[in-house]
Point group: C2
Chain length 354, copies 2
């Protein structure tokens, strides 16, 4: 910067003002400065600026598994939207492990992020670490999973309704014994989908059966194990609800082994777009990941701009005073029976282990 200033025959202050447009500079001087910048290939030091200004224009984004297409899509949306607004995103993986999550949060706080979008891992193990976030006054929004008592805004899918609707699809087709390949107990999205499932059963006066529910952490092996357990039993389910596509993959491998197809055991898969176009009697529920990410970032942006009230959510004048802590988006159903280029129909359902 000094170099540029010298070359343009002005002071460093003027260079700064030219760059930031922060006060009037005569056209002639501005010209000389711009020229010098171009000639020097000067790029202003963001570190020094951040140090001075106290803001990094960097946000953090912690997910439990970037390899999960669901989170990959959310991450992509967050990242793109952030970039459009001049923010850079640091994506980190917690791997569904509280210790790793803590490390991620610490690291990001240390890096002085301006805000955080996080899909927390199950349980409320990491209370202290979330406490540090509020203590450091770092605006934070939760995506997809709630944390009881964290007092942070949440952007999510209406999973209870999604679970309800998905179950009803199968009930309407005449299946009563519906098995579930679910995610971890402690994760709110799992709990809510199960609650919707239970509600749908109850409406039809179908007695719930705990043996029909399998909990995994969402990996391929979990689906395989679920298949081995659920399909082998004497009274095997007539149909299945599968909470993500990785587990569906494992499930299909298990079905292969015992000589079953989805004609024998129809299924509804959350975020299972890969399957619904290809396999008979398979439907999928799509969560609008792009919207989830975008909404989350926009909320964060408002919090970063307008400040942050401790009861969660952006503080503000009357304009946003009625905002609830939870923003939920709806999901859609893909029906393979009406094939189209991407194998989906327009028939909407609501919301979709993530």
């Amino acid at each position: 910067m000094r170099e540029v200033a010298a070359l343009a025959g002005v002071s460093a202050a003027t260079v700064s003002h030219v760059i930031n447009g922060t006060r009037f500079v005569s056209d002639e001087v501005r010209g000389r400065v711009d020229d010098a910048i171009a000639r020097t290939g000067y790029v202003s030091n963001v570190l020094a600026r951040s140090l001075r200004v106290g803001t990094t224009r960097t946000i953090g984004h912690i997910v439990t598994d970037i390899e999960n297409p669901f989170f990959a899509e959310v991450a992509r949306a967050v990242q793109m939207d952030a970039l459009r607004h001049g923010y850079v995103t640091m994506i980190a993986n917690s791997d569904e492990d509280p210790a790793a999550e803590r490390l991620c949060v610490e690291t990001l706080i240390e890096r002085r992020i301006d805000g955080l979008v996080i899909a927390p891992c199950g349980g409320s193990v990491n209370k202290s670490c979330f406490a540090r976030l509020v203590e450091a006054r770092i605006p934070t929004v939760l995506v997809n999973r709630d944390i009881r008592g964290a007092g942070m805004p949440l952007v999510t899918v209406d999973y209870r309704r999604a679970g309800y609707d998905a179950t009803k699809i199968l009930l309407d087709k005449g299946y009563d014994r519906i098995g579930v390949v679910a995610g971890p107990h402690a994760v709110s999205s799992t709990a809510e989908r199960l609650s919707g499932y239970a509600h749908a059963l109850q409406e039809r006066e179908v007695a719930p059966d705990a043996n029909l529910i399998f909990h995994g952490i969402g990996k391929v092996e979990d689906g395989y194990n679920a298949g081995k357990r659920l399909l082998r039993s004497a009274s095997r389910p007539q149909a299945l609800l599968v909470f993500n596509s990785s587990m569906m993959t494992g499930l299909l491998a298990a079905m292969n082994e015992v000589g079953l197809t989805t004609n024998d055991v129809p299924a509804v898969v959350f975020q299972g777009r890969v399957f619904d176009a290809v396999l008979p009697e398979v439907w999928s529920v799509r969560q609008p990941t792009e919207e989830l990410g975008r909404v989350a970032f926009d909320l964060l942006l408002r919090m970063m701009r307008d400040g942050w009230s401790d009861d969660g959510g952006p503080v503000g004048g009357s304009r946003v005073s009625a905002m609830s802590r939870i923003t939920a988006v709806r999901a859609e159903l893909f029906d393979p029976k009406v094939p189209s280029p991407d194998g989906r129909s327009k028939e909407p359902v609501s919301g979709g282990v993530h």
Copy 2:
């Protein structure tokens, strides 16, 4: 920091040395400092440190599509390995768009990254932007795709061999007319796989047919369009080589529409683990993504540590003098005919549109 120093009754310098272990501090003083740090909740300002030290312990990672499982897996490996070594990763999406790629690179340079791992987008459009990287002396390693004349080290899969082996699987089963659902012309991994394909055909004295090759950019729609074009023609291929799993999904939708299954048209899919366990007559070639990411970061780490020679690759004493610019890893074949929990066999092939 001053606060901590005051509380402990020492100077700022001592606090710094306690934190960094950069010179001997008496146990008593160290105790007082640690105590003050704990009491204050002080977290040292990485920005100021970076400004002083000239290094950010941050690396960039640019991929063409984070939603592509292949890149997600590579990114994860890079990120995890980097974290283990105290580096934070900024992941950015170029979206297969040279302009976006340029923006990513500029942004990351501005952020003063210490190094970069990049899967460049096709073509050599962005020469100038890569020039800026060498100009700024930012160690860079390419993953998965080469750039002619960039003089940067490349970590990749042996795609030529992978293409050759994948083709031979089908030839050995007696199929001569093999269609290809490929990636963009300009991408080296596509070109190399096609070269392996051509080589395998030539060995069997099968005449190549340009009408059998379809180029897409790797999306679901591309696979669908490929299916419409290749399968509808009078002389349709007996079998298919599909360059990634998204295109396979689209292809299957197209097959569905025309009433074909993979029994009619067998296929080998690159990185198609989702399919091989589930569909008959489908094999997949897996690229070792985790290894790719790890090897790339390790190489980058050496470059950041030991300096960087202009002919590409880390400079060094005799120890690494014989290192070639290209590091290639081998891929494996998954055979669904020997099902196991994750539906793979041990039969290896070598290395998948990315």
